[in-house]
């Protein structure tokens, strides 16, 4: 089977609220990723995009960049989308349907929020839930958190430890939008939204765009000495809304994690750095448990003990994550970009020493879509 790799990465410069259009942040990230891979737009034959703000985004971006792709994919299932694009690109490349795949996400949701008072929706409230007027999607994740507390004794302070850890990493990242280190006291003093969540349990709302180039490992090695190998990928969905989620404290990450580790021939203990989509504090707890990094129910304790902090046993969300780095909607692409930065040894003051193997995990909807990638340098 053809080995596939990540040959380039790009992150758009975005300081919202600005006056850049979504197409321009996407193009910026895409051109940076291509330049990083030593490629030009004309070399791309597969285009994969996700965004909530551009109509027919794969067509629009392809034309904007002068690409005439022979493989097109506009899969959108929230924050797992770009990881799924990579998962799909691997299959397309192995099948000879394309050779150079460009995967792009972009959003100017903070600019839109400032301009119109509302954020472009990535997902809509499920119909039955709408009858109860929840704070969507915050309340769905809040229900998972409350259940985790009831079932396993997870504490309010342990939830805070997730945001505190993210802020410690963010303080080391000059590109992070939150640079201050949070405390439990500050988190529970922030406005209550949907219990047990306060405002600081929830991700930032920012603009942003990111892109990666996927190609054969053989070509990637020739193009870029810093290419990152994709050892395994897996995706899964078991529900859309929380009513159809069979168990609110056991997620599809257990399915994709098991499949990806089996394919990679390694286990959670072999991973040096983890990047999991932290839209809310409970996410990091649930995803680390379900990916097998700690026993079920003990995620809160694992994190509160400092394991995911700088210097911890499992450095996690080392950019600062959606809680402290940036969160332009579908955060998935950033889990991949930060895993790449760590594996390439380019993470500056937050670099994890000897990071050789990484996991990136994206979720979409309300813990609905899952995609896990196992990467190595």
């Amino acid at each position: 089977m053809t080995d596939v790799a990540l040959a380039g990465m790009g992150i758009a410069e975005t300081w919202a609220p600005g006056h850049r259009d979504t197409m321009d942040v996407m193009a910026d990230a895409a051109l940076k990723a291509l330049a990083d891979a030593g490629l030009r737009p004309g070399d791309v034959d597969g285009v994969f995009t996700a965004t909530a703000q551009v109509m027919l985004p794969t067509l629009a971006l392809s034309e904007y960049l002068g690409i005439q792709p022979r493989y097109l994919d506009s899969t959108v299932h929230g924050g797992a989308s770009n990881l799924s694009h990579i998962h799909h690109a691997i299959a397309a490349i192995r099948d000879g349907k394309c050779e150079v795949a460009l995967v792009v996400y972009g959003s100017t949701q903070r600019t839109a929020l400032k301009a119109s008072g509302s954020r472009p929706a990535v997902a809509s409230v499920p119909p039955v839930e709408s009858l109860a007027s929840p704070m969507f999607p915050i309340s769905s994740y809040a229900l998972m958190a409350q259940r985790h507390m009831a079932e396993f004794g997870t504490t309010r302070e342990q939830l805070s430890s997730v945001a505190v850890a993210a802020s410690r990493w963010g303080s080391l990242n000059p590109a992070a939008q939150r640079r201050d280190i949070l405390t439990h006291e500050e988190i529970v003093a922030s406005p209550k939204l949907s219990s047990p969540f306060h405002k600081l349990d929830c991700c930032l709302i920012t603009d942003g765009a990111g892109a990666v180039v996927v190609t054969t490992a053989e070509r990637a090695r020739k193009l870029n000495t810093k290419a990152v190998q994709i050892n395994a990928s897996a995706e899964f969905s078991g529900h859309e809304g929380v009513m159809a989620m069979k168990d609110l404290v056991r997620t599809g990450a257990s399915v994709t994690g098991r499949a990806a580790f089996e394919m990679a021939g390694i286990g959670p203990g072999d991973i040096d750095v983890a990047q999991v989509y932290d839209a809310f504090t409970i996410n990091t707890i649930l995803l680390l448990e379900d990916l097998g990094f700690c026993p079920k129910g003990e995620g809160g304790k694992f994190i509160a003990e400092g394991n995911i902090d700088p210097g911890g046993s499992l450095p996690t969300n080392t950019s600062g994550g959606g809680l402290s780095f940036s969160h332009p909607g579908m955060f998935g692409i950033y889990t991949v970009l930060e895993a790449m930065a760590q594996l390439r040894g380019e993470a500056g003051g937050r670099q994890v020493a000897n990071a050789r193997r990484a996991v990136a995990h994206g979720i979409g909807g309300t813990m609905s879509a899952h995609c896990t990638l196992v990467l190595s340098n």
């Binding site: 809509s124 119909p127 929840p134 009831a150 009513m243």
Partner: protein, 128 residues
């Protein structure tokens, strides 16, 4: 919102004060949310069973800080619903500070802010 015919019927019957739950005509499973195909056996076109007074246990909850004050939203495991499917609704009959996982609840209807009857979960022997 991704509305659909099964949801519309569910909401209409609740608005008439007669809440119903989807039931599979083949395996008899009662499930939520309403949908085109039974999640247990895959049979399309489920029917309906009266749901008023159905009792169950609060599986999880969240207190939402709304403009009108705190409102409770709950997910309940109703006794007549097949394991795994949960009922999502506003929780009434108890103060936000007293709600807890495991409390017994009963399916009822109550008026929302627009005066429309919607399904709610009433806490049995609650504090209000």
């Amino acid at each position: 919102m991704n509305s659909n015919a099964h949801f519309r019927h569910f909401a209409e019957r609740a608005a008439a004060g007669e809440p119903v739950l989807p039931q599979c005509g083949s395996c008899q499973a009662v499930f939520m949310p309403p949908r085109a195909v039974c999640p247990e056996c895959g049979t399309p076109g489920p029917g309906w069973v009266p749901g008023a007074g159905a009792t169950g246990t609060l599986y999880s909850y969240t207190v939402v800080e709304s403009r009108e004050g705190p409102i409770i939203i709950g997910l309940a495991e109703l006794d007549m619903i097949t394991e795994g499917s949960k009922f999502y609704a506003s929780v009434l009959g108890i103060d936000a500070g007293d709600v807890a996982v495991g409390q017994r609840v009963r399916l009822d209807t109550a008026e929302n802010e627009d005066g429309v009857l919607v399904p709610v979960l009433m806490v049995e022997g609650g504090t209000k």
